[in-house]
Assembly symmetry: C2
């Protein structure tokens, strides 16, 4: 039983560890040159040599969950005293985990998974080695998809968005405040990124206008040059009208509208389809119903991620 | 409006012609080094450098439709007097068509389309140039899929197929009779390939056993060393039991069980899924409902192919 794992982040690492535990020899393909997945800071944004930059990590990010519930079931995050730690601390933890279970020898780094194809009973995996530029076909009996779900921006449609002449950005491409000095910035969104980044950007920006439709956000959680607005009604060349009839001008629109499930490498032969941001057809949001030798590790959102990933890894690897 | 066409066979060529007619400049990606698609004979079988051989053409094939209904609406096949012509004649016709409408300058030959991805409003097409081994990303507004449906074997499941120790072949991999001299061959299927190839193989084989479940095939259409049987009940190491209780031994099992719709390059982001050999979700078996800037040219089976492809091409190219 040959096993492929795509990604060496929180999900992929515990898959590799559980496979080794069951005397399997997994092959892990990792796009970057290190473990950690979305926690690895990458100064690049957009695409590099046509390949989308994977991580959405920005400088100085701290976790919004306490570290006490972010570790694996039997491998906790123990290094620091404080509960809300930095992304570097999470990376250090994942590196510790990879070393402890001797996982690195199973990981092919700098490996861009281009395509995953069902070919009779096997999964054909086409991989480009980014160091040599060689493209190679691999064949596996089973495949675990652990590529995360914080990498492909979800853009929302807003009336007359094409009229606006300023800059559009998405939080996926946020790294630091360099672009925002002295600017007026419209932040769109109501999730953790929108709230955190409104304050962070406001340190550099002249003003931040946060547009959202959440109830019960106290204005006291924002710095003083952050104002809140309801949803945008429509854009103009230099600004936007909001649902309350007010109008504001700004230089940059900054979408904090989250991410969507995306498996660009998955061929339609896999039997998977993503509709309304739900991955179809999965058993228990994990096993590919049409091809049960494929599993997805880490899809559910409101969970203790590493705990759930470890459970999913054990379940899907021990299935025959 | 940039337009991509995948394949330079009967479907892709009329797409290119109709696009040019509407003052568009299409980009046609073609895997081989010539036009003609499935009509191009390729002595290779299986895979070459990991890439599946596309064509299923075999030596000396003649059409089973008269040439009078195989041409395009306003460009007929006129070269020969007889109605049932050779595959080389069809290839010559398609080359004439390509020259007449000056299509070659739009075709990128030796171009292996690896992946087609929806990326916001554009289609990202990842192509490997087989001559230079370079991999390149292209972006298009619209894409026409014209890769045919006679390239990916459809295998059927038969009890104890894994017990049989002889050779398994599929008509996709048939080129000539070299492998069949003096052998006893079980042919499975009841379509045109099964009927034609049973007779062709019987010229070299010791005996051909044709297993099918069709009604009304007269034994007189077969050469004398072809015997017919009902469906296989189960395989043994050296042969098979049939549904009528009889048993036969043979050296080779030759599947003429047809082809299935296959778009290995299509990412799940395209919104397409193939279920029970139906391509879902299409409007009029042509336009991708979820992403109407993608169309499929040539899917329906029981049609005058070139006539229908030309209609589909005109419709989908003129759509906005």
């Amino acid at each position: 039983m040959s096993l492929c794992i795509i990604g060496a982040g929180t999900a992929g690492l515990c898959c590799a560890r559980r496979a080794v535990e069951l005397n399997q020899t997994p092959t892990v393909f990792e796009l970057s040159n290190q473990v950690g997945g979305t926690w690895v800071y990458d100064k690049n944004t957009g695409t590099v040599d046509g390949i989308d930059v994977h991580s959405s990590m920005y400088a100085n990010l701290r976790t919004n969950l306490p570290k006490e519930i972010m570790g694996y079931p039997d491998f906790e995050i123990g290094a620091k005293k404080e509960s809300y730690i930095s992304s570097e601390d999470i990376c250090a933890f994942l590196n510790l985990y990879a070393d402890h279970f001797q996982l690195r020898k199973h990981i092919k780094f700098n490996s861009y998974v281009i395509r995953v194809l069902k070919k009779r009973e096997k999964w054909q995996v086409l991989v480009k080695n980014l160091l040599t530029n060689n493209m190679e076909f691999y064949y596996f009996d089973k495949i675990l998809i652990a590529n995360g779900h914080y990498h492909t921006p979800n853009y929302i449609q807003i009336t007359n968005a094409n009229l606006f002449r300023g800059q559009y950005l998405h939080s996926h491409d946020y790294r630091n405040n360099d672009l925002f000095h002295g600017k007026t910035v419209l932040v769109i969104g109501g999730g953790p990124s929108a709230l955190d980044l409104s304050n962070i950007i406001s340190k550099a920006a002249k003003q931040v206008v946060l547009s959202h439709h959440l109830n019960g956000i106290s204005s006291s959680i924002f710095f003083k040059n952050v104002v809140t607005k309801p949803d945008v009604k429509e854009f103009t060349e230099n600004g936007a009208y909001f649902m309350d009839g007010s109008y504001t001008e700004f230089d940059i629109v900054f979408f904090c509208t989250g991410y969507k499930y995306s498996f660009p490498f998955l061929s339609v032969t896999s039997g998977i389809y993503v509709e309304d941001n739900c991955v179809q057809m999965l058993y228990k949001q994990c096993i590919n119903i049409r091809n049960p030798t494929m599993a997805f590790i880490g899809l559910p959102f409101y969970v203790c991620a590493a705990q759930m990933m470890d459970l999913q890894a054990r379940c899907s690897i021990s299935m025959n």
